[in-house]
């Protein structure tokens, strides 16, 4: 091959690299090893972790331990999907383009909105993209964001909005754990591009979405609903309560926990926002013989065409995660999704009622929840979490990680993987722990749901 290119050595091909920037030593990395050794090393690293399934897990807070059916792996591991690039050549990419089209359809069905893109990275970056879309659409400079939106999503928004896009104004949760409508109203003004509320909110409470949407629209702002698509088997779809944009994290649809990623950001919008939507969109068309086919469309929104005037810089998205979500929803089907969401809600309600019956434990918020709920404990949540690990429980997430004043609030999520026996045993374990703690000096009293962000 060197002879064919007329070079004596590969070194000759690298002659354009100035000598002073050549690395004249091997990289300081471990020497390469055989596949079997790679496998053993990674297996050993994996073995130093405890997957959620090794314990009885009640962890949620934006990442949920739902069962991933085998068909999801069977489909997503097909290399024609897994090892393809973005479908730039539609005639050779009809499989993926059709899958994206079908994914867009199921997202529209779930959200009750007419347009979906092909995916975003995660729920957090979807929030940022939604505020940019709202800002560009309304030509306004602020967004009002409920503190009931996942704290990490709000942190990501804070990072980027510092430089560009609408500036967020946060509205604190009430002491009862809800977004007060009067606080939203007070925060909204003539420069508000959007009002953002999460349903259910981060503590699990169901917000007054229709009223919040009305309030936003009255001020000429858009309404953004942050939702978990799996909840939409039971809860009202955003399109029905007036959301202009629905976004969120769709990990719960057939995607593994995987220590936080890769997950699946989604975005669905009302028709008028179509041409400002970020990311890829697949559309149906016909070929020269009139046969149905699919292409990436409306690409003049995108960076590779529009460069600095693009609606977003997104290029790679999370197509394979979107495919997993599509397969998962096809597996669940029209009947399965409502059954599954109801199943989770029933188990969550059961566990909540039993835990809240323990001395010193109170639900926060008190109203209805879906699959996750906050509980005020008579001890710091972090203490309970730590104490129950040796007994085989991941008891939940400490809300005090992000909210000052909520150190005693534990977020507990219940999926279909938890059995009644596990729930009952967990209640016993919590009861026993709290009874032991009760012999010590009393825990903290009640405080309002504070707003200080604790962790980066």
């Amino acid at each position: 091959m060197l002879a064919a290119v007329g070079a004596a050595s590969v070194e000759e091909l690298l002659a354009d690299i100035p000598a002073e920037v050549r690395l004249r030593r091997p990289l300081d990395l471990p020497a390469g090893v055989a596949e079997s050794e790679v496998f053993e090393e990674l297996r050993a690293l994996a073995a130093r972790n405890q997957p959620a399934s090794a314990l009885v897990s009640f962890l949620g807070a934006g990442a949920y331990d739902h069962y991933v059916p085998a068909v999801v792996d069977a489909v997503t591991s097909r290399s024609e999907f897994m090892t393809a690039y973005t479908p730039y050549q539609p005639e050779r990419s009809q499989g993926l383009l059709r899958a994206i089209f079908e994914y867009q359809t199921v997202i529209c069905e779930l959200t009750g909105l007419p347009v979906s893109n092909a995916s975003l990275y995660d729920g957090a970056t979807a929030l940022t993209e939604a505020t940019l879309l709202a800002g560009a659409s309304t030509r306004r400079g602020g967004v009002v964001v409920s503190a009931g939106v996942h704290p990490e999503y709000r942190q990501v928004l804070a990072t980027t909005s510092n430089a560009h896009g609408p500036r967020p104004v946060e509205v604190a949760l009430s002491g009862r754990g809800y977004t007060p409508l009067e606080s939203l109203a007070a925060a909204v003004d003539g420069d508000t591009a959007a009002v953002v509320v999460q349903q259910p909110n981060f503590l699990g409470g169901l917000e007054e979405m229709a009223a919040a949407a009305q309030l936003a629209h009255d001020a000429g702002a858009l309404f953004v609903a942050v939702v978990d698509p799996l909840s939409l088997g039971l809860l009202k779809p955003p399109g029905e309560y007036g959301a202009d944009i629905a976004i969120g994290e769709a990990q719960s649809l057939g995607n593994y926990l995987s220590f936080g990623g890769p997950y699946l950001g989604f975005m669905a919008v009302a028709e008028p926002l179509l041409r400002r939507l970020p990311g890829r969109i697949a559309g149906e068309t016909v070929d020269t013989e009139g046969k149905r086919g699919y292409v990436l469309t409306l690409q003049t929104r995108e960076q590779h065409i529009r460069r600095e005037r693009a609606t977003s810089n997104i290029c790679s998205n999370h197509a394979l995660n979107a495919l997993a979500a599509l397969v998962y929803l096809s597996w669940l089907g029209q009947e399965g999704l409502p059954e599954l969401s109801l199943h989770c809600a029933r188990k969550a309600a059961y566990l909540r009622e039993r835990l809240a019956a323990l001395p010193g434990v109170e639900p926060l918020p008190e109203g209805p929840v879906f699959r996750e709920f906050g509980l005020r404990l008579p001890v710091p949540a972090s203490q309970l979490i730590e104490a129950l690990v040796p007994q085989g429980y991941l008891a939940g997430v400490d809300a005090g990680r992000w909210f000052s004043g909520l150190d005693d609030v534990l977020l507990v999520a219940v999926t279909e993987r938890r059995t009644r026996a596990q729930l009952d045993a967990f209640v016993e374990a919590v009861a026993t722990y709290l009874a032991g703690e009760g012999k010590r000096p009393a825990g903290q009293g009640k405080r309002a749901a504070g707003e200080g962000t604790r962790r980066g």
Binding site: A31, E91, Y121, S258, A319
Partner: protein, 484 residues
């Protein structure tokens, strides 16, 4: 072509099964009040598991991946993705980890992240890494926010980022998202940055420069040392778009070239599969001076050998995504780097460069070669000579489909007329490269012989050429359900 999954749907069919709900039943109204509930079910497909599998198996046969054949898509580095990477990423000790588990339970994951951060820093020739960015463009945005934080910490607020006219579209788009103004500079006759233009663009208002090196022409910028000098002298920082890092692993490091920030596309350079559009990962590596601004949390190794996530980073720009990045993708990148090691990675780039030069020599007589230089891991030729047959590069690309190869990138970079951008990658064999050359030669011969054959290509795909204008003018973006 076959039905959509919605057209396959039949009422009452189901694939799923659910454990019995063994907690006491409660009235629905007690769980969720009626006004908060959905009244009409989402019209999801109703199919059996077999129908589901057949549907997606059929779709897969209408698609093409690197496992199917050559995929010389320029700037996308479509190399083979070793299968062991999938096996390790699927280990439950990785795929089953919840991001909010106590740190004591995820020590292996944190160690993996910490080790990978170190490896990427060594490969980049810089010192500190964040694994948070989800993709290359996300890494760009993160890097630009670091540039902003750096200047602010020094009491400066410059507004402009210089970008050459060969840059990826993500660069200017990221610049705007970071609140900066892009300032384009032209390329010179050898395809590098025009130094006079760069100097003219340099002012107190210069925040930094973004550059891909080798650039999207597949050419190494020979003036890189001088470029870095000019930008640094003006107080700016240099951002390395690592999309083309596959050319220089272990050969030349961005940090040694003078860059301050680097992103890697793990789905290009480190062989994590692209998944038909993602997920990838876009970790970035920075010089010491920028480390305080990196997104929190960062993984810290304690003296006792334990690892923890450090959130106490007062100068941090903040988070750029939820949790800790695309961990599952990063596991694959770790496995790839571990398997190859230092020698293996250097060999990757040498072979990538040799393969690209080999294909260039095999087809250079067919096209205009805009820059008569040795290419690095990819090259760009112009399809202008096809115009004499009334054929465009788009037609050529469609004809290549008939020859069973995925076409190269077309019409990019923008500064080359009728551009064809070819990146064979190191994992293609000589026979495979010869087949690619053969397909290109055949397709060009077809253009001379029978231009109509190209205008009407492809002829062997599941669909003929698709009407993209109609798709944009009359958007149909979801399945149209029949009225009830």
């Amino acid at each position: 072509m076959a039905e959509t999954i919605f057209e396959r749907s039949r009422p009452g069919r189901r694939a799923f099964s659910l454990p019995a709900c063994d907690v006491p039943e409660r009235p629905l109204d007690e769980l969720v009040p009626a006004e908060q509930r959905r009244t009409t079910p989402a019209r999801l497909p109703e199919v059996s598991e077999l129908e589901l599998v057949r549907h997606f198996t059929e779709l897969s046969t209408l698609n093409y991946g690197i496992d199917s054949g050559p995929y010389p898509l320029g700037s996308c580095t479509m190399k083979y993705n070793p299968k062991v990477n999938e096996r390790v990423a699927a280990l439950e000790g990785f795929s089953g980890l919840h991001p909010y588990e106590p740190e004591a339970l995820v020590q292996g994951a944190l160690e993996l992240m910490h080790t990978l951060e170190g490896w990427l820093a060594e490969i980049a020739g810089l010192s500190q890494t964040t694994l948070q960015p989800a993709a290359g463009a996300h890494g760009e945005l993160t890097g630009l926010l670091l540039i902003r934080a750096y200047h602010e910490a020094h009491g400066r607020a410059p507004r402009k980022i210089v970008i050459p006219d060969t840059a990826h579209g993500t660069n200017p788009a990221s610049v705007v998202m970071a609140g900066y103004e892009p300032l384009a500079v032209r390329s010179d006759a050898r395809g590098g940055i025009d130094m006079d233009e760069l100097r003219a663009a340099t002012s107190e208002d210069l925040a930094g420069l973004m550059l891909t090196n080798p650039n999207t022409l597949g050419l190494f910028d020979e003036h890189i040392v001088e470029i870095a000098q000019v930008v640094h002298d003006a107080g700016g920082l240099l951002y390395y778009d690592g999309a083309n890092a596959n050319a220089v692993l272990g050969i030349s490091r961005a940090g040694d070239m003078g860059f301050d920030i680097v992103h890697f596309n793990t789905h290009k350079t480190f062989s994590t599969p692209h998944g038909g559009g993602g997920p990838g990962a876009g970790p970035i590596v920075v010089r010491d001076t920028l480390a305080p601004f990196l997104p929190a949390p960062v993984v810290v190794a304690e003296a006792d050998g334990r690892y923890r996530l450090d959130y106490d980073r007062p100068q941090s720009i903040g988070r750029v995504r939820s949790f800790y990045g695309n961990f599952g993708v990063l596991v694959r990148a770790y496995a790839y780097i571990r398997a190859l090691g230092a020698d293996g990675l250097a060999h990757v780039s040498e072979a990538a460069v040799l393969n690209a030069n080999y294909v260039l020599e095999g087809i250079r007589d067919l096209f205009d070669v805009p820059y008569e230089r040795r290419c690095m891991h990819e090259f760009v030729v112009s399809g202008d000579p096809l115009k004499q047959h009334g054929v465009k590069v788009m037609d050529l690309a469609k004809r290549l489909l008939d020859y069973g190869v995925h076409p190269p990138t077309t019409y990019f970079p923008l500064i080359v007329s009728e551009a064809l951008m070819i990146e064979p990658t190191e994992t293609e064999s000589k026979e495979s490269l010869d087949a690619l050359i053969g397909a290109l030669r055949e397709a060009v011969a077809d253009a001379a012989r029978d231009p109509e054959l190209l205008h009407s290509a492809p002829h062997t795909m599941p669909v003929r050429r698709l009407d993209e204008v109609r798709a944009a003018r009359q958007p149909v973006l979801r399945h149209q359900f029949a009225p009830e």
